[in-house]
């Protein structure tokens, strides 16, 4: 049995990790599985980094070098109790100090360790996502004292997911910031490798499907890859994450599913959220999103059998804000109960 925190402990000691080292060590430190044949390692590797980014443990630079963030006590919720989560670097020593401090004040503070052993869908493997360390207290002063004593940074004035919203731009802001300086006549078709399929919600090989006015294409100009968004004969270089949502916004396609009663938001894993928004959503619960493979959602124009990242404890107002930022409209309360389909074969 591997330690769920192995990767976080390792990178906390090293400070940073190069992408080649990460690729080499991924199976050792981040994956708990004897049979890796059925798993798309590349996909899981990318997913693991995305999850750790959204949990606020790491940051990436342009060369994809992974840096560990400084440890911080971050406020998640403020109701009767103040609930905070530990983000950033972590060592067994830091945990010992936290536990020691809290055990002396059992009536004021509570430490909750949530083991995030998410199953990878369709096989028995687990990603070794670090345990979520929550600290609960009736007043914020105690949390502040704790942070000072164990010498970590803190952000306890306002739930951090709200803070992050203020930093995030919207799809409209992003669209306005683009340089629409490319023309269809100059489209370097030979360099075009893939195009984004709005039917399958992923990049596919160039095909006849994408002759529409709006198109997101991946180009390869050795040694660089670039994403260009085309709209009515004009093109602009875009970032992959925003480009996808911009295109979905242009064709008015809804992809975000929200359940008001259980307060979760499901985002197709093939459409990862821009970093700040994903961090903001994750900090609603402090827990990594759960990956669930959907089955038949074709009635909502969504492809069959795609993975969703499900974020929990997302209030309706937050979900609406996220959707608004992404230029989306939530699929809400329509998804359940399901209609039945007659099958002539049975």
């Amino acid at each position: 049995m591997k330690d769920q925190n192995a990767f976080l402990y390792a990178i906390s000691s090293l400070g940073f990790l190069d992408s080649t080292d990460y690729q080499r060590e991924f199976s050792n430190l981040c994956l708990d599985s004897g049979f890796t044949d059925d798993i798309s390692i590349e996909w899981e590797r990318e997913k693991f980094v995305r999850i750790l980014l959204s949990l606020g443990h790491i940051e990436l630079n342009n060369k994809k070098r992974i840096f560990v963030c400084p440890p911080q006590l971050t406020l998640i919720r403020k109701d009767i109790n103040h609930l905070s989560v530990l983000t950033g670097a972590r060592t067994p020593y830091l945990l010992e100090k936290l536990i020691e401090y809290i055990e002396y004040r059992p009536e004021l503070l509570e430490l909750i360790i949530v083991e995030q052993k998410h199953p990878l869908a369709r096989n028995g493997a687990h990603l070794l996502i670090p345990d979520a360390i929550f600290i609960k207290s009736k007043n914020v002063k105690e949390l502040r004292e704790l942070a000072k004593t164990v010498q970590i940074d803190y952000q306890l004035e306002k739930p951090n997911s709200e803070n992050l919203f203020d930093f995030s731009k919207s799809v409209t802001d992003y669209r306005n910031s683009l340089m629409w300086d490319k023309r269809t006549t100059d489209d370097p078709i030979k360099s075009k490798i893939k195009v984004f399929s709005t039917n399958y919600l992923r990049f596919i090989e160039r095909s006849s499907e994408t002759t529409e006015n709006q198109q997101l294409a991946l180009y390869y100009f050795p040694p660089f890859y670039e994403y260009w968004l085309w709209e009515c004969g004009r093109g602009a270089k875009v970032k992959k994450d925003w480009g996808r949502y911009l295109l979905l916004n242009l064709i008015q396609k809804r992809v975000l599913i929200y359940n008001k009663d259980s307060e979760w938001l499901a985002v197709p894993s093939t459409l990862p959220l821009p970093k700040v928004l994903s961090r903001s959503l994750t900090l609603c619960s402090g827990l990594a999103p759960l990956e669930v493979y959907s089955e038949d959602l074709s009635n909502y124009g969504l492809p069959y059998g795609i993975p969703f990242s499900v974020y929990f404890l997302v209030t309706l107002s937050v979900a609406e804000k996220i959707a608004q930022r992404l230029g989306q409209e939530l699929i809400i309360n329509e998804i359940s109960p399901h209609p039945d389909l007659c099958n002539l074969m049975i």
């Binding site: 909750i112 083991e115 259980s262 979760w264 089955e295 038949d296 074969m345």
Partner: protein
């Protein structure tokens, strides 16, 4: 307690996780412990009872599911979703009659046309499962009135019409539904089904190949095959090629006995059959043969299989690794012999025969097809020897001609060694085979050195243990022990020490 540890599902609540899986229609719900949640239900929260009901329904606990839905409805009698889920659960356990009034009750609490459409659709579906197609058509039409472009209602209306006997109307709606939602696997299947119904009479092979093979679900396959057979039953006695395809259909659904009744010698026109399908057929047969271990009396369809797949294809796609699977290997060689009755193939079959257990050999010897194929089954061992002699002869040639062809030689030797070692594993006291093996290793001494020499010694010592009076072996053993180099050994023993015109080791 100031420090506690919980699992991820308990932190989120198993009920919430269950709702996610329900809403995303995923069937991979992980195992979770719900006991703590059930204990902590707020007494007046209908929503909570509903979600727990949903959880039980998802894990297949119908009784608890219904109980919690009822509790939710007793707290909130206007709970639209709870009515629908309760009706769904009743439908799932086959109580459509009980589901209809529950759905009807929910009609009073619909908030919009979409919800009304959903309820009409569910009532229609309940009638459909009761085979009350006229009523099903009425309700599906009412659902369609609420949303004219709903692929689900169009599909359901098409199905109800088809089942009622109106194929034209049924096809129209299903095609329309497929046009709107071609990604849905059930709509795809229904579309296939109506296409099968409408295909011309001369397309039976294509129906089997194009439609039957790609379906993975066994039940659906059976249903479609039944339909095809019903439709083409009048051809059974007339067209032998079609009969073969029906045989293939039965083979694909695993009914080998029935498939045998259809297969005939006319052969397949199999130009349109892809390798994937051939493989599927091949493995179905192999699985059957392996299941019926040692029963070689039902091989009539092998001729058809060989015609369909071709012996080379069979050999290329089967492997012989586990001695327990020897039937598979025998089968492939056997099939090859049927396809191409050349002496070479028979020799290969003879060689494999040598590797079989005594029990299997006995069964084989009584098999009429084997008897027919091999006029004198007792010659099999000699056949194997001849083949090996030929191989060894070739090796000698290589040895003379190529000084650095050790690797190549070694691989040929390895094949021969594998055959003989297999024989030894079944008859561990077979001194004749041991002598052959010792002789082979002797030939390898020049480039494998000590390891080969050790093996030679081992085999000769084993022979002496079994037959201490074998003077010939004693002499050889002495000469090997006192020889100084592999070259000396070779010179002392001589290359053809055991070789005779009929094989090796027969003096």
């Amino acid at each position: 307690m100031s420090v506690k540890k919980v699992s991820w599902d308990q932190a989120i609540s198993p009920v919430n996780v269950a709702v996610v899986y329900h809403d995303l229609r995923s069937s991979d719900l992980p195992t979770m412990d719900i006991s703590q949640i059930v204990e902590k239900i707020p007494s007046e929260d209908a929503q909570y009872f509903y979600y727990i009901g949903l959880y039980f329904a998802l894990i297949g606990d119908t009784l608890n599911g219904l109980e919690y839905y009822n509790r939710a409805l007793s707290i909130n009698p206007k709970f639209f979703k709870a009515y629908l889920s309760k009706g769904d659960l009743l439908l799932k356990i086959g109580s459509a009659e009980e589901a209809i009034p529950v759905f009807n009750q929910s009609l009073d609490y619909c908030l919009n046309d979409n919800q009304k459409g959903l309820v009409f659709g569910k009532i229609g579906y309940s009638y459909y499962t009761l085979s009350d197609y006229p009523n099903a058509i009425v309700f599906f039409k009412r659902a369609l009135d609420m949303d004219t472009k709903n692929s689900y209602w169009l599909n359901n209306l098409g199905c109800a019409n088809t089942q009622f006997g109106d194929n034209v109307e049924g096809s129209k709606y299903i095609r329309e539904s497929f046009g709107l939602n071609s990604q849905n696997p059930i709509i795809q299947l229904n579309h296939t089904y109506i296409t099968v119904l409408q295909e011309g009479i001369f397309h039976l092979p294509q129906l089997v190949i194009r439609y039957l093979v790609p379906i993975n679900d066994q039940k659906k396959r059976e249903k479609l095959l039944k339909n095809i057979i019903d439709r083409y039953s009048h051809l059974e006695t007339k067209n032998k090629n079609y009969q073969n395809y029906i045989g293939l259909g039965y083979l694909l659904i695993g009914n080998i006995e029935r498939s045998l009744q259809f297969f005939n010698d006319d052969g397949f026109d199999c130009t349109s059959i892809s390798n994937e399908i051939k493989l599927q057929v091949l493995y179905t047969v192999l699985e059957y043969i392996n299941h019926e271990k040692g029963n070689f009396t039902k091989y009539n369809f092998l001729k058809v299989l060989t015609n369909l797949c071709g012996s080379e294809f069979i050999l290329k796609n089967t492997t012989y690794q586990d001695p327990e699977d020897q039937n598979i290997y025998i089968l492939t060689i056997y099939a090859q012999c049927l396809r191409d009755p050349s002496p070479q193939n028979y020799k290969k079959l003879a060689e494999v025969f040598m590797t079989l257990s005594h029990e299997t050999q006995t069964i084989l010897k009584t098999d009429p097809v084997f008897k027919q194929s091999f006029s004198n089954i007792t010659d099999l061992e000699d056949e194997a020897d001849c083949e090996l002699t030929k191989i060894l002869g070739n090796i000698s040639k290589y040895e003379r001609e190529l000084n650095d062809a050790h690797k190549k030689n070694a691989s040929i030797f390895d094949h021969v060694i594998a055959v003989y070692e297999n024989i030894l594993s079944h008859s561990p006291e077979n001194t004749r085979v041991m002598k052959k093996l010792a002789d082979i290793f002797m030939r390898m001494v020049s480039y494998r050195g000590v390891s080969a020499r050790t093996r030679v010694l081992e085999y000769y010592e084993s022979i002496l243990r079994i037959d201490p009076n074998d003077e010939e072996v004693k002499k050889i053993l002495l000469s090997i022990r006192y020889s100084s180099s592999p070259k000396d050994i070779k010179q002392k023993i001589g290359k053809n020490h055991f070789k005779t015109k009929n094989g090796i080791g027969k003096k």
